[in-house]
């Protein structure tokens, strides 16, 4: 920690067309070899600050107050700042691993023989040795995340920026990434990581820089607001499972396999009663999505039977109104001109009257806490708000079963707790059975009536 690598003095930035600044009076300095965690809730300005440091902000109102003092290389074949983005999927530009890692050095006019060495060293650093010729499409989420880091390391950055690197990773992926970053730190890398939940990295973080509303708070060596992670919302949930012992989901001896990846589900049997709150837990590739696809009739199993909300061998066209499904990215299902119209869509398709639609939409918007957004265009809302609109749209028909696939992706901790609180009200209000499939632990372990573990295509019940 000898000298400062980065100094920021009163940085302010406003996006083009925005009325309020994304960053205001941001000042800080980062020492050589430090591991800094920028922490704060979604939309607080973490990503904007990283883009500003990398010099990628275009347009808008900007006060240039950033000084980077990484010594430039003599040959010019390195970059002062390397930035790894949140979404590995859209960050990988090439088809094979070696090409992807070579892409940055190629742009710096690095000679091919030097690139070859960097490719090898970078892949070795992230534990992807011997993967040079592999096709990136076949990589897991964790491997893709490692590849994006290797692609940045190959440019020999003096300062490494990571934007929410764990957002797509399961528990093992997070542990592996933590181990990787521990190694980088011991090698002397200066790292700034934006992360809304820094708990997996507490042992390697030197300082926390909290951000809220575009303003940076006082730097601390301990995790700010760590008490929030002990929140318990289970008391607000109520289950009607005992009152109405009706079967909502019944799966028997379900087997699914794919030509490329082999067995996804092996003799999976499951019975879920009406009004139960279920957490379907499993790492990436464990078979969660396959099970949900079979439940909703999007996939035909090799063998076995499925009964969902009283429908045997369900078909997607038979489910609206009875079964609600919420997928990971809400923007995939938003299209209407207003939040009201978005939520009303499924009800119109069910043939509900205008009065009934008005009443039910208002109820769903209130339940999801977005009544004030009814006239807004869904696509202009923040990610967290869009997520609630999508939730309100699937909740409005008061489904018997609500299935959610990785619903926590992209949400910060308070938003996750709010989501659980809303879902926890569903059994009491409508007798809805809620199934959350995720690779993340629940923010509140006590929320679920039962936790089902999917491992290698097998289902185990752990309870809680």
């Amino acid at each position: 920690m000898s000298s400062d690598v980065l100094t920021i003095n009163s940085l302010a930035y406003t996006y083009p067309g925005a009325s309020t600044p994304a960053l205001t009076d941001v000042s800080c300095s980062i020492g050589n070899g430090e591991f800094i965690c920028l922490t704060g809730d979604s939309g607080c300005g973490k990503t904007t600050l990283l883009l500003a440091i990398k010099g990628l902000l275009r347009g808008g109102s900007y006060s240039d107050a950033i000084t980077i003092t990484v010594p430039p290389s003599d040959d010019g074949w390195s970059t002062p700042v390397g930035l790894v983005f949140q979404n590995a999927e859209s960050q990988i530009l090439c088809t094979t691993v070696a090409e992807e890692v070579a892409f940055g050095p190629e742009n710096l006019c690095t000679p091919p023989e030097e690139i070859a060495l960097r490719v090898r060293e970078s892949l070795q650093a992230v534990g992807l040795d011997d993967c040079e010729t592999r096709h990136v499409e076949r990589f897991s989420a964790g491997q893709k995340q490692r590849l994006t880091i290797a692609s940045t390391l190959s440019m020999k950055p003096g300062l490494l920026l990571l934007d929410e690197p764990t957002s797509q990773l399961d528990g093992k992926g997070k542990r592996d990434l933590c181990e990787l970053l521990t190694g980088f730190k011991s090698q002397g890398y200066t790292i700034i990581m934006a992360e809304h939940d820094p708990r997996p990295f507490t042992n390697i973080i030197d300082r926390y820089l909290p951000i809220a509303g575009g303003r940076i708070g006082t730097s601390t060596s301990t995790m700010p607001d760590s008490g929030r992670y002990a929140a318990n919302i289970a008391a607000t949930t109520e289950s009607v499972a005992e009152a109405e012992p009706e079967v909502a989901i019944e799966v028997q001896e379900l087997c699914v396999s794919y030509p490329e990846t082999g067995v996804a589900l092996q003799r999976v049997s499951l019975k879920v009663m009406r009004g139960e709150l279920i957490h379907l837990f499993g790492s990436n590739g464990a078979g969660k999505s396959s099970l949900l696809r079979c439940l909703t009739g999007l996939e035909t199993p090799d063998s076995g039977t499925v009964e969902l909300a009283g429908i045997t061998d369900p078909h997607p066209e038979h489910l609206p109104g009875k079964v609600g499904v919420l997928f990971q990215n809400p923007s995939r299902q938003l299209f209407a001109e207003s939040v009201y119209e978005e939520v009303a869509f499924a009800l119109r398709r069910m043939g509900a009257s205008t009065q009934e639609i008005k009443r039910v939409v208002a109820e769903a918007l209130t339940l999801c806490g977005i009544g004030h957004l009814a006239e807004r265009a869904p696509l202009t809302l923040s990610f967290g708000e869009q997520h609630r609109v999508a939730l309100a749209a699937v909740v409005a028909p008061k489904p018997l079963v609500l299935l959610l696939d990785e619903p926590f992706a992209g949400l910060d901790f308070p938003q996750r707790l709010t989501l659980l609180a809303i879902l926890g009200e569903m059994p009491g209000r409508y007798g809805t059975t809620v199934v959350i499939a995720s690779h993340d632990e629940l923010p509140d372990q006590a929320w679920a009536d039962r936790t089902l573990h999917l491992r290698g295509g097998h289902l185990d019940e752990t309870g809680h």
Binding site: L93, V325, R332, Q333
Partner: protein, 242 residues
């Protein structure tokens, strides 16, 4: 690439030329005989790349969905007898136009593709062309996921449902609009990713040939563990310049 075949080993430039020729023939095919001959040649090309019927289904399934719509529209506008053949022909032409591109994408490395293209266009443009093709499978997956989410909300998007013109609004609002939004968002992310890795920052760039350099690097790595500092580009570097 993990697979190998005569098509994999064919130069990217040749595949581009062959693909362009087959796609052009697809546009020009008019008679059933011409179409049949082109189907045969295209399938021989596809399977010569050691791709499977399952791959073919994955590559063309959305066009099958489109074909139902096109044939339905022709039958609606011109009547069942007169509309069937033109609808079928146009659908087949679209699929045949696309398949050579799918073969190119599945059998060609990024570097080979850009090397082939850079002979014709500047490297920034060749990258743009490549990335557009590279993300086709990504958007097909997006299309599939959007369609799944919307069908489960009650949108009428099945081919048989889209034969009815009253459901065409769903095609635009529930499928194409979210897809366009996702495409714009992804384009922004791709552009930022490229810029973050200094793409376009310099007038020229070097080119790393995976197949040639991997072996050399291994040898060099064994000989010396540290990378010698280079203050200027040597003659070897010039060979790789785009």
């Amino acid at each position: 690439m993990t697979h190998d075949s005569p098509v994999h080993r064919l130069g990217a430039g040749w595949k581009l030329a062959l693909g362009t020729l087959l796609s052009a023939l697809a546009v020009g095919a008019r008679t059933p005989g011409e179409l049949l001959a082109l189907v045969t040649v295209t399938l021989v090309y596809y399977f010569a790349a050691r791709l499977t019927p399952f791959d073919l289904w994955r590559d063309t399934r959305f066009f099958v969905f489109q074909a139902v719509l096109i044939i339905g529209l022709y039958c609606l506008l011109k009547g069942g007898d007169k509309g069937l053949w033109p609808g079928f022909r146009q659908s087949a032409q679209i699929i045949l136009f696309y398949i050579p591109g799918a073969v190119l994408l599945r059998t060609t490395r990024t570097g080979d593709m850009m090397r082939g293209l850079r002979r014709i266009v500047p490297y920034r443009l060749s990258f743009l062309v490549f990335v557009s093709i590279r993300f086709v499978p990504f958007f097909l997956r997006e299309l599939d996921e959007i369609m799944t989410a919307q069908r489960l909300r009650g949108a009428r998007l099945l081919p048989r449902q889209l034969v009815d013109p009253r459901n065409w609004g769903d095609l635009f609002h529930c499928l194409l609009l979210p897809l366009m939004v996702r495409a714009l968002k992804t384009a922004e992310e791709v552009s930022l990713s490229a810029e973050a890795r200094e793409f376009g920052a310099r007038q020229q760039r070097t080119f790393y040939d995976v197949s040639r350099q991997a072996g050399q690097a291994a040898t060099a790595h064994l000989k010396q563990n540290t990378v010698p500092p280079c203050s200027h580009m040597g003659p070897e570097a010039g060979k790789g310049l785009l």
